[in-house]
Subunit: 725 residues, 2 copies
């Protein structure tokens, strides 16, 4: 790619972004689109749109909103996510400032008297001829700014060496500050005087079999009453809800159908035809065959039948399908927080207790998995994911092989006539493998989430953290290292056989500079097009309008159509971390990437702040437990960067390369100290935080009820009934 085409691609992206932003300004002004652009506000019962028509008013709002606004509207997790954005941006900006304005950095760190600017160092080194640049002479203008332009063994490399230290120190400092800050946010949220259901409950798993003639309920109650005579409130034994859930879903389906049929019937009562047309449907397969019945009557009939069935099943479930786990409720927050940390039984694999997640994010089906089952599953999933990360090309190749036209035709003979048309055949043959790859990549987060849930994790937020971590390793390994090494790897396959740390460092050092331009473009594309689409929400808008027009009949259906979903941390965080890894790794080799990184995180902060305030509705609150994961992966990126630099300096035959090794050791110490100091509070709730007074004395009965799953709650089955079953 030469300089001109780089500029072209950058320009195109910018134009797309501007168009998308203008579209956003225009579309978000229309009241009919408010459900798409301000759903979170509508949910919170606030005024959807600001009055002004100013195209940049959203930027003003985003900038002027404080962290507390974010916490109030979108929860602690989102605020923590912004901490990430801020620290990423700060890293990029601080480094950029340092590289482009050495004077500024000298002012800031007067101690380090001479922090040489790397760009002048690179540009003024004419000892390497144009033909000899790292990108094989095709991109010489940009290469001038890179470290590849510097001669081997040149003393100018000292500047770059100091820069590596500087980047690392800045990162340590910012990470430390951020961890401290996030820890404070978490503490503030946990010590809030609001009554939060999950703060009064703990989740008990691996309950041993009850004694003869004792119900689970009695067993759990007597066990906890003995230990916490004053603070134990009551318990809720987890039941096997599969059957009752199925009935309940069927019932809900018929209820929706009934409302829809009634709406349709009401709409059909025009002035001309005051009696209207009663909607009819067939009760056979997919409504295509079978007897034709009056929908309203049919639904009412079904609903009445199902309600009786549900009530019977509820009773059976509560009585006979009790499983080996329970939720236990306490009358004070301190007692619950303390119980979640204590060892209760002698054998650690029985009566395991942990913090209860929010009711809405409980994964009921995982709650009663046994201890060793969870351990075994965990390791199986880890191994599976590790194999997937390393050998992800293999299933794709298999899918590609499977999706050749010949095989498809064999499997589905009915598509043969279509395939035989020449132009369609050509297109299909060309795109089927790529399509398979794209579909696989699109399904990957879902697959990882599925695998993570298989581990037996009890809460959604924990599953999101797990899936996010797995996805991070996947993208870093395959996108970043894959792209970097692919050329080098196949060229030097023999070298790889004796692979060792220094070998890998060498390979990274060799491969990285060649791909600087690719990643520059990648980052630019990501922020211009990615954030443009994010802000303009074109696709949800189109889908919403289509649905509203052709499918939705009732209020509830319309609401469902514009429900914005949540932030999707499972893919968003790894995506950001990938950009961060790229920016970090190139920061010294090709400092030109820094402004791109800075714009990515700056723009991201702006756009996502807008989305957090107005669009996305958080689906859970984990009080910032995502942070330690981000922190660990940020550090992993830093270590990758340090290893890469060691490789690159070795390649430049710089004698003082070993001076970089202490950095690796320091990273390790930093990681250990951070973990020792901060991590405990993210794992458990510190008691000093929850011992603060509450605004009102908590209604533990209400807390208890909020945990009853909808399929088991019923007007007839009052709390006591449920409890004593």
């Amino acid at each position: 790619m030469d300089f001109a085409s780089f500029l072209t691609s950058l320009g195109t992206s910018l134009i797309i972004f501007v168009i998308l932003m203008l579209l956003f300004t225009w579309l978000s002004g229309k009241p009919g689109n408010h459900e798409i652009y301000f759903p979170n506000r509508i949910f919170k019962g606030m005024e959807p749109s600001s009055r002004t028509r100013n195209p940049i008013s959203w930027i003003k709002e985003a900038v002027s909103s404080s962290e507390n606004d974010i916490i109030a509207v979108s929860g602690v997790d989102t605020a923590v996510y912004f901490c990430q954005e801020i620290i990423f941006n700060a890293t990029a900006n601080l480094l950029m400032l340092m590289f482009f304005f050495p004077a500024f950095s000298m002012m800031v760190l007067a101690g380090i008297v001479l922090l040489p600017s790397l760009l002048p160092l690179s540009i003024t080194d004419h000892s390497i001829t144009q033909n000899n640049t790292t990108s094989n002479g095709t991109f010489s203008e940009l290469d001038k700014f890179s470290m590849g332009h510097i001669e081997q063994k040149s003393p100018r490399l000292w500047g770059h060496l100091i820069a590596v230290y500087w980047v690392s120190l800045v990162t340590y400092f910012l990470l430390w500050k951020a961890y401290k800050h996030v820890s404070e946010i978490r503490a503030t949220a946990l010590m809030s005087s609001e009554v939060r259901a999950e703060q009064f409950a703990v989740l008990v798993r691996d309950i041993p079999p009850p004694l003869e003639g004792e119900t689970r309920k009695e067993q759990v109650n007597s066990y906890f009453k003995a230990i916490y005579p004053d603070t134990f409130y009551r318990s809720m034994v987890v039941t096997d809800n599969t059957k009752v859930n199925k009935i309940w879903e069927e019932l809900e389906g018929y209820r929706k159908k009934l409302v829809r049929a009634e709406t349709v019937y009401a709409q059909s009562k025009t002035i001309d035809k005051p009696e209207g047309i009663r909607p009819m449907n067939r009760i056979g397969f997919l409504g295509l065959c079978g007897k034709n019945v009056d929908t309203i009557e049919h639904c009412n009939e079904k609903i009445n039948g199902l309600i009786t069935k549900l009530e019977t099943e509820q009773k059976v479930t509560l009585r006979d399908k009790q499983l080996s786990s329970a939720l236990v409720f306490f009358s004070s927050r301190v007692a619950a927080a303390s119980a979640a940390q204590n060892l209760h039984a002698r054998m650690v694999d029985t009566w395991t207790v942990e913090d209860a997640p929010e009711p809405r994010q409980l994964i009921w089906s995982n709650l009663s998995l046994q201890f060793y089952m969870r351990e075994v599953r965990k390791y199986i999933v880890y191994i599976t994911v590790a194999l997937m990360v390393v050998f992800y090309m293999i299933p794709i190749t298999m899918i590609s092989a499977f999706t050749t036209l010949g095989k498809l035709v064999k499997l589905m003979p009915f598509i043969k006539p279509v395939v035989n048309i020449a132009p369609i055949r050509t297109v299909l043959e060309a795109y089927l493998p790529q399509l398979a790859l794209i579909i696989f990549l699109a399904l990957l987060p879902k697959l990882l989430m599925f695998l993570t849930k298989l581990e037996g994790i009890p809460s959604e937020s924990h599953a999101v953290r797990g899936a996010s971590g797995k996805y991070f390793y996947f993208v870093v390994f395959n996108v970043f290292i894959g792209v970097t090494l692919s050329g080098t790897l196949f060229g030097n396959f023999k070298d790889l056989e004796k692979s060792s740390l220094t070998k890998i460092a060498d390979l990274l050092g060799k491969g990285l500079p060649d791909n600087a331009t690719f990643f520059l473009t990648y980052v630019a594309l990501k922020f211009f097009v990615g954030y443009g689409l994010e802000l303009s929400r074109l696709i949800p808008l189109i889908i919403f309008h289509l649905k509203k027009k052709y499918l939705c009949k009732t209020e509830a259906e319309v609401k469902e159509a514009w429900a914005p979903g949540d932030f999707g941390y499972a893919t968003r965080v790894p995506g950001d971390l990938l950009i961060l890894t790229i920016t970090l790794c190139y920061s010294v080799i090709a400092p030109l990437i820094l402004p791109f990184g800075a714009v990515y995180f700056g723009l991201g902060w702006l756009v996502l702040r807008n989305q957090a305030l107005k669009v996305y509705v958080p689906s859970f609150e984990s009080y910032g437990r995502m942070w330690p994961h981000m922190h660990a992966r940020f550090l992993a990126a830093l270590v990758l960067y340090q290893v890469t630099m060691i490789g690159y300096f070795t390649l430049k035959l710089f004698y003082f390369t070993p001076l970089l090794f202490p950095l690796l050791i320091f990273s390790l110490i930093f990681a250990v100290v951070c973990k020792k100091k901060f991590y405990g509070f993210f794992e458990h709730t510190a008691l000093e935080v929850v011992c603060h007074e509450l605004k009102e004395s908590p209604n533990v009965e209400r807390v208890y009820r909020s945990f009853v799953p909808p399929s088991l709650s019923s007007d007839k089955l009052d709390g006591d009934h449920y409890g004593d079953a």
Copy 2:
């Protein structure tokens, strides 16, 4: 060593043992020796000796004593130690049975239909000629029984392979049972209805600086009162006691001196001289120079002066020398056990809380070491010990070089005339280096204990565990692996350069069989002479009688002279583990070692049970927290054994050697499962255990007082005074 000399050495050891046992029977019958042979009984206020004069009555008593007797007399730790002895013995016995009576093992494990006896397999293999045995033909009779007698690639090796599996499985099974049993002992002790001071207290360290105008005491009280409003009782801030301790010791010294002087004076009042002789002493250096004073008057004077000084210093200490740690007392066991496990502060490096040890085993000077200081010290100590283990020869060589006669004479010219006498010179020259080695080895446990205490550990029992672990690695590495490899190592030094796991396994496999006889003799010597001396207590007896005759004047001094001390787990446990490692590693290669191992642990069980019941007085009670350490090291020995066997089978060119690798993986899984299942309860106190009712409602004030160090407790300073200072 040939067979005859082996028998001779065995016979000599046996004769020594019999003599020592007879001596014991004779000496322990004399009432004047009761303080040496029954001190624990005397302490407990029981009848010292049993009536019978039967020489084996002690064996009867030892055998008939139950585990509960041991716990009652000597505490849980001792009972756990016997669990170790039993399981070691069971391992050895089970394996022995299996090797020598295959029929028996077949009966026991009917499932494994044909567990071939290894000895017949070895003896009947005549394919290797006598000249070709592993011990270079010098020890052919014993070699016949060993695996070295079997031809390479022989299918008979299948028998040995199965034996390796059998040994491992027996070990897993016994370890599992033992861990479960120890866990029960611990639980029973912890749930006992006696009031034990340490169960009501927790140790709080790393308290942050108090606010302006707040004392430490107020800070601690308000902090814990907020979190535990109902169960918090009071707190005791740890103070810097160095100065007050010094004064107190001086005071105690003068008090002892006074009692001694009074006794001497009373004894001097014979009928002839009813006024007696008032004892006098000089008050200068070592009582050799200075003014001659009347001792009783002088002591009284000093004591009065010191009491005033002590009181002033006590007040100053309590007011001004408060440090950043405290003991916090709760009114219930559950509250204390729960508090010790909870995270209290957001930052994990402040307000760290742990179970309080017993008052008698608190290491006061370590209590207020800061968190990071402890971490840093820990790693420094670990590295130091690791270096010591690996390079222990270096300081010894240095000491040897230093202790040549020439240098000694230079340093201490006054010994010159002695050295110049020819025979003394010869002896000194020959033995000085060895003497240095012996002194170093004798000092090693003390050195390791000193290093362990430097880590900042708060309790004696924990320090003993730490020192014991370090000593284990030292003896296994230097005695076992050192002896085994020394020949092989120096011979094949070039091979070692590319050292890897298989390489080490190879080396072990090569070296082990050559040393079988050495270790046979070693084990025999250990049990015959070691346990003979242990039982007869000759050295303490002699020392006691000498002291009683020439030094002791007062009752207290006599008591001090016969105080038996405790078990000394720090060296005893690693010693046992070394023998176990040897027995395990040779169990298949030279099964003849098994009866020796069995006798070692059987005799050990008998002798030490006698000592536990009658002699040693435990100096602390840690409720069996030693066990996980023993367990881990037992497993380490097992893994070492498995690695050795892999090496040995490789050496025999047996094709199915890889079949042994699953054992290593299984050992790993076993270790992880044991840790997950059992370890938690040894780290913390399970709440279900301590929620049992107490016999009487606890007097927490008395609990509190038991923690006041003697130098700070005083009749004048009543509890409140102390508390409110």
